[in-house]
Symmetry: C2
Subunit: 140 residues, 2 copies
């Protein structure tokens, strides 16, 4: 490896969801993913201070059940589709399995934030939360 540098990502909370297995999980959030709670750790309470109902956020998770040595997949697991490099797919299997999820806040209860739909499994570690910016979503 040219860059063997390793960074330490730490869980700052967990997803609480009815989704318990990879088989049950939709591939994308807009394909019937359920509401979920984001349960944050006490030590990041102050970072959450401005999250309100209606806020749109980008949630980053650590897809802890993914395989990190997979570089090529059939998109959406469909073997009739030609294999593709993982960087042009949303496969959870990739060198650094960080999940990216656009969510809307529907309830806030202290360290617990409820979001409208999330395709991450129950227990998935949370690593970051960011606002959605215009430049993220505007047409180019």
């Amino acid at each position: 490896m040219q860059n063997a540098e390793i960074f330490e990502l730490r869980a700052i909370g967990r997803v609480e969801s009815p989704l318990r297995s990879l088989d049950a999980a939709p591939r994308q959030a807009d394909e019937g993913a359920p509401e979920a709670w984001l349960i944050f750790d006490e030590d990041v309470r102050d970072a959450l201070g401005s999250v309100r109902v209606g806020t749109e956020l980008i949630l980053l998770t650590w897809l802890d059940r993914a395989q990190r040595d997979v570089l090529v997949v059939h998109p959406r697991g469909d073997v009739t589709r030609p294999p593709e490099g993982v960087f042009t797919t949303r496969s959870p299997h990739r060198p650094n399995p960080v999940g990216l999820h656009r969510v809307r806040v529907i309830a806030v209860d202290g360290l617990r934030i409820r979001v409208d739909h999330l395709e991450a499994l129950d227990g998935t570690p949370i690593v970051d939360l960011k606002p959605v910016l215009d430049e993220d979503i505007s047409a180019r």
Copy 2:
């Protein structure tokens, strides 16, 4: 800490950019950020296979010059604005300083990918690359 769990993120490449200092960097990509090269490691070559000129991607970086113990900031560093929890800002300073950048590919040369504008500093480690999905950018 409730969740002391740590995950190992590894650099899979580096940003090559004329931006050399935090003072020079625009706060957002749409505020005059320059073109940049993404230089990937040999061992992720296969994951890049389907990246083409014109592809829109979400680049995740590790903002290695950020402070991880900052939970509250003045948005955009403007002290006249009330302090806000970092999870509703794009401050690089946050518990897990993962940078999120929407970019468009303007050239591909093997392991080197040129993107249209990027506010990350020269040398910033790359950790992931994902396609932009409709659900990421559609109005809600």
